[in-house]
Amino acid sequence: MRKPLLISAAFFFILFILLSIFSFISAGNSSPLFYPKIIWSFVVAFLGFCIYRSGTISKYRSILFILTAFFFLLEFKLFRADTTPPYCHIALAPTLLNFVYSQYLALTSGDWRLWGALTLGFLWLLIILTIGQGICSWVCFYGGIDEACSKIAKRPLVKLKIPGRWRDFPIAFLIFLLTASFLQGLPFFCNWFCPFKLTEAFWDTHPATRTAQAVLFWSALAGFVIILPILTKKRTFCSFICPFGALASICGNVSPYRMTINEARCIQCGKCQDVCPAFAIEDKNSKEYKISSFCNKCGKCIDACPVDAINIFTKQAGQAIDTRDIFVFLSLLVAGVISGSFIPRLFLQLTGVR
């Protein structure tokens, strides 16, 4: 729903002020870093202004999401100054005990903001408590690559019809990964399946196993992150493999924000199901559409619905309250803070200031 200019400007102003305060605190004594942080805060706040003014969520969210992923790829994988790139920020240690020890070192050294995968996990949980599954389409710096590929074709070249039950596959995969990681004491997902690691550091030393890992890596990257999203315009890696997405779909239920279809208004045109990139809208015999817990609140269905039957609500004392604007504001704030912790540094690196 479009907002008047004054209200949109108010949202922009508040968001910019909050992100600037964060920039000021996080830049510390480094004055060169403060200016790119302010510029990035302005960019995020301006995209927020566009969302409120135009009433279109997905278009501007997508710009922010893809930019974040692109810059993340540059910063963490290619331009990171203090490590040998390519580098993975999640799996820092090759075994479970080393991993626990690295967390201890991260916490005691005070460098926990960048190094502590457990502390990052805690931050992830905090985000989940606020915007729920929204993390997958507003903040996740890997999901943006999937989304970027899904934007390449104008319309779906292949219509992917997958039985609804296979949407639960990431949950099964998550259970398997947890058990196998525990069993082997290794970051199992990183070693074998992660298509974003872009590093061979985790691969086995045995040639045959190494080849198998390479085959899995390249096929997962090419198939699920690049080719299928281009062909189907869906986020296939996020929908059918990502174990973090599965965890978010379980934990995200604690978040108060729910994407809901107003059955009285719905004309069963099916447009929401067609555009949903996460296969999160279930078709009940073409008579009723239901949004599953895999919905990551990207806003595409809201924008596509011709009768405004879909919105974000919060249940309070049995009543559904429209909280779309608050959700968008919170998501932009979280996305701005997370992306603001690495994108400004990259600006400096690219311009040669540091």
């Binding site: 039950r165 639960d168 596959f169 949950i171 259970i175 398997f176 058990t179 045995h206 045959a208 196993t209």
Partner: protein
């Protein structure tokens, strides 16, 4: 003998949670699919699984104690990988047949599995899984040079690790919905494919 018994028991208790992880990855999905609402029904399945493990351990202790050091590598490498492949194949066929149970061909197979005592065979094959605690127990067996001692050691090891199986009785509280059963089947499918790969690559190496 008492000392050997306690040695096995303590090894089982200390490393058991790791050992159970190796068995759990096969048995938990099965219980998610087949687990009954009644705790007693689940207990029967778990006892059947444990019986399979017990027989596997005793047989392993007896055979290895008889044969001795000469062929130890065959039992801790090749034989245990063959058992892993057998367990994986069992779960793979089971999960595929269950996934496609609506087809005429698979419907009969699913019924067949009901009669096959899958928990027992899973216990038998996963009992000889090449997991680290089992290999530690096997290494101790080489040094014992005592057939009854070897059997007692592995029976005690079995008792120590079985303690960690008790929570599985309550898994029936999880499988109240069809969705959980479906997820259980998928876990079985992924695990069986993965461990089939591990078993085959272990044999090739």
């Amino acid at each position: 003998m008492i000392r050997i018994f306690f040695e096995g028991l303590i090894l089982g208790l200390s490393a058991g949670i790791y050992c159970i992880g190796a068995c759990l990855i096969f048995f938990m999905p099965y219980l998610l699919v087949e687990g009954a609402r009644k705790v007693f029904e689940n207990l029967k399945k778990i006892l059947s699984f444990l019986l399979g493990r017990l027989i596997a351990y005793i047989a392993f202790a007896l055979i290895v104690s008889f044969i001795g050091l000469l062929y130890q590598n065959i039992f801790t490498t090749r034989f245990s990988h063959i058992c892993l492949i057998a367990a994986s194949l069992l779960m793979l066929i089971y999960s595929l047949a269950y996934n496609f149970k609506d087809s005429g061909f698979c419907a009969g197979r699913v019924k067949g599995f009901g009669l096959m005592r899958i928990p027992f065979f899973l216990g038998l094959f996963t009992g000889l899984n090449p997991c680290p605690p089992f290999l530690v127990g096997a290494a101790r067996l080489w040094t014992l040079d005592n057939i009854p001692g070897g059997v007692i050691f592995f029976v005690a090891f079995f008792l120590g690790t079985s303690v960690y199986m008790i929570p599985l009785i309550f898994i029936s509280y999880l499988n109240k919905s069809e969705r959980i059963k479906r997820i259980g089947l998928m876990v079985a499918l992924i695990s069986s494919l993965w461990f089939l790969f591990v078993g085959i690559s272990g044999l090739i190496r």
